[in-house]
Amino acid sequence: MATGPAISISVLSKSFGPVQALDRLDLTVPAGEVHGFLGPNGSGKTTTIRVLLGLLRADAGEVTLLGRDPWRDAVALHGRLAYVPGDVTLWPGITGGEVIDFLGRMRGGLDRRRRDRLLEMFDLDPSRKARTYSKGNRQKVALIAGLASDAPLLLLDEPTSGLDPLMESVFQQCIQDMRQDGRTVLLSSHILAEVEALCDRVSIIRLGRRVETGTLAELRHLTRTSITVETSEPLTGITGLAGVHDAVLEDHRARFDVDTARLDEVVRRLAPLGVRSLTSTPPTLEEMFLRHYGDEATPS
């Protein structure tokens, strides 16, 4: 079972009436990986996860989860995965502790020690009725219910929306522990710092299609590095170089962005000019994100 990828999606399409939610989506998550699933609101992240849960039936395409079909074998698979929704609604008259226990039992048992430890870590009062919880506390209930399981696969759909930074770091610690244990995590998010801190690889989805996938290092390769340089010789010929953008030149100083793939050429060109100082800022996921969604230019 552990031989194939934990999640394998190819050319998955799903539409709701006239709305094309997923359009030939591909996504592969090897077992044991923490995979970031990034995309703006409405890009199809939640639809993908619902297909993986067998709640929605795919219109077209192949989907396997732990080697099995999530639509046909939903119940058997659900014993081996834990799911945390991003928008948690609970039963108003039932306490948080009861919800955690109930979902744990329905998943096939839960580790009481881990449950109690998580309650403490997330600082949640389990004896309060769900109607009295704030959004953050409802989110904690769903998170604890999911994290308390020892399922080999976790599907997390924007699991930290509504959590404060302190709880966010508790969550990150939990995911690090899961990585240590060799469990697979699909983490849908639009909090880039979280993804940068946790994920081995990242897929970016937009309008129901995957637009990028790879390790953070690989993705950075597709992006630009910001360079500030000061040289002893006057700087000439920089603006004309392929891959250099938005250059601001004074005679001995320059600030510009360079396609990370062409960084080498540009640095070779600078070296003979006598570099006095050089700072380079690696691209953040934020910038990658902005490049994909900020402007209308879709990479294809």
Binding site: T89, T95, L103, P126, R131
Partner: protein, 525 residues
């Protein structure tokens, strides 16, 4: 109070769909009762007969009102229907005020409102004004219905004002309860309890020396005696009480924090009981309060019918026109009455069955089904959990109807064997009730968006066929489409098993078909 009028307009807009139905319901009650009573007791002689029969029957008085009303035909109408019109208007006022005050506060919507240029008291003031507008409309429509059916204008005006006054008391009570409790369900629970107490107090007062009726808002309205003396001064009591309650609500409102109540919500269990470990446990936990309420309500309804069963023969003798409403052409008046009331109550049990099945749909659209179905719970188990509550719950509801009917009747005739006899008779309707629940399952499985509409239309259809088939002159096939028409009307008719098995089989097929749909379709809010 800044912003009250703007909020009132907004609230009227939010309530524009539901409100007309409440008003229509209250008006229709009076309109139908007025036509029917004038037909049956229109002559002085018939009315005198009725006074004689009912004057000594405390069960009828307990269900209706004080006997001095029976002096005129208009008073007779008020006697029979006022308490129920008052209950409808009281519930309308309660839901309006509760939803717009504590309901919004609990859901967090009120926070948005209060963050703009709106005073602290404005939402409560606007909700109360909304209730005033709604109650005034109800009173006016009742006045119109009464005068249109030929009743004197003076008494009709007093009747309309009495309806308004009763509504206002419950609107003000709800405003107070909304300050006390943190969630709107507790508010409805408390006000609903007081409404039940108001009905019970006037029942005790009307059958006794009348003193207790003066503690009941419904009693205040009835004791204006419209068309039977036209006393105006009792209207002052509800007006003064409402004003005092509104002042109390305002005082409480000024002393509490936003979102808080004076009765803090109690903490619950921090771990789940062993019962909450599968789909059945969850469905039972979610539905048990509703089930218990329906069963108690239906037992009371049955007991109400049962308490007058013993005097039904005398009543029919005095009022032979009533025969046309009884099935069986009067072979056995008593059995005909028992069969009729069982059939009517069974329709209410069917309504319960539909609410129970529609819980599935509510769970799905609210997003709460998703985390459950993301565990090892199959769709079949999820369906079976809620459906088992619906099926067992309707059986319990029918047994409660028959048990209540039997118990009340058994007490009046000192014959305990009536309890199992009538409880068993009520269960004859189980296949028909299950069939309606199965229609709900079918629609939840295939057309979830239409589920509520289609299921309620099915219930309404059976009600219309059951109550008005003859009056509307419905064709035979239209009557035969209702499973209740195929159910033998025990104890009037002998029990025959074949139609029951057939209805049960259809119910099983529809349920299976519903599951087939549920298995195939997308699940999601």
């Amino acid at each position: 109070m800044t912003g009250t009028i703007g909020l009132l307009r907004f609230m009227l807009r939010r309530e524009r769909r539901g409100l007309p139905w409440w008003l229509l319901g209250a008006t229709a009650l009076l309109y139908v009762q007025s036509l029917q009573s004038q037909k049956l007791y229109g002559t002085a002689e018939a009315l005198a007969n009725l006074r004689r029969t009912i004057g000594g029957n405390s069960a009828v008085i307990a269900m209706s009102g004080p006997t001095p009303l029976l002096q005129s035909i208009g008073g007779e109408i008020v006697f029979e229907i006022f308490a129920f019109v008052a209950i409808v208007v009281a519930l309308m006022s309660m839901f309006l005020v509760g939803r717009q005050t504590r309901g919004d506060e609990e859901a967090g919507r009120a926070e948005l409102i209060r963050s703009v240029r709106v005073g602290r008291r404005a939402p409560t003031a606007a909700a109360l004004l909304l209730a005033v507008v709604a109650d005034a409309n109800a009173g006016f429509l009742v006045f119109c219905a009464a005068t249109l059916t030929g009743l004197p204008a003076d008494g009709s005006l007093l009747l309309g004002l009495a309806v308004i006054a009763t509504g206002l008391v419950f609107a003000a009570l709800t405003a107070v309860a909304a300050q006390l409790f943190e969630n709107v369900r507790a508010v409805y629970g408390a006000v609903g309890f007081l409404l039940g107490a108001a009905y019970a107090l006037r029942a005790a007062g009307d059958t006794g020396n009348g003193a207790l009726s003066w503690l009941s808002p419904i009693g205040w309205g009835q004791r204006t005696f419209p068309y039977a003396g036209d006393r105006w001064w009792p209207l002052l009591i509800p007006l003064v009480v409402s004003a005092l309650l509104v002042m109390l609500a305002a005082a409480l409102l000024d002393r509490r924090d936003f979102g808080a109540g004076l009765v803090p919500s109690r903490p619950g269990r921090s771990t789940a009981s062993p019962a909450l470990g599968n789909a059945f446990g969850l469905a039972w936990r979610l539905q048990r309060t509703a089930l218990v309420s329906w069963v108690c309500g239906l037992a009371l309804l049955g007991a109400g019918y049962g308490s007058v069963a013993n005097s039904i023969e005398q009543y029919v003798e005095d009022n032979p026109e009533i025969m046309q409403f009884l099935p069986g052409g009067g072979r056995s008046v008593l059995d005909a009455y028992l069969a009729l009331t069982l059939g009517l109550s069974a329709l209410v049990a069917a309504a319960y069955g539909v609410t129970s099945v529609l819980r599935l749909h509510a769970e799905e659209t609210s997003g709460r089904a998703e985390p459950v179905l993301a565990t090892r719970t199959s769709r079949l188990a999820w369906l079976a959990g809620h459906l088992s509550v619906a099926l067992a719950g309707t059986a319990l509801a029918l047994a409660a109807i028959g048990g209540g009917l039997g118990l009340a009747y058994a007490l009046t005739v000192s014959d305990p064997s009536q309890v199992p006899r009538l409880a068993g008779a009520a269960l004859t309707y189980l296949p028909a009730v299950w069939l309606i629940a199965a229609v709900a399952v079918l629609t939840v499985g295939w057309k979830p968006r239409a589920a509520a509409a289609v299921s309620w239309i099915a219930v309404a259809y059976c009600v219309v066929v059951g109550l008005f088939a003859e009056s509307f002159d419905l064709p035979g096939w239209a009557q035969r489409a209702s499973p209740f028409a195929h159910t033998p009307q025990v104890p009037l008719e002998p029990l025959s098993v074949t139609p029951l098995l057939t209805i049960g089989l259809v119910a099983a097929v529809l349920t299976t078909a519903g599951y087939a749909g549920l298995r195939r379709r997308d699940i999601g809010p």
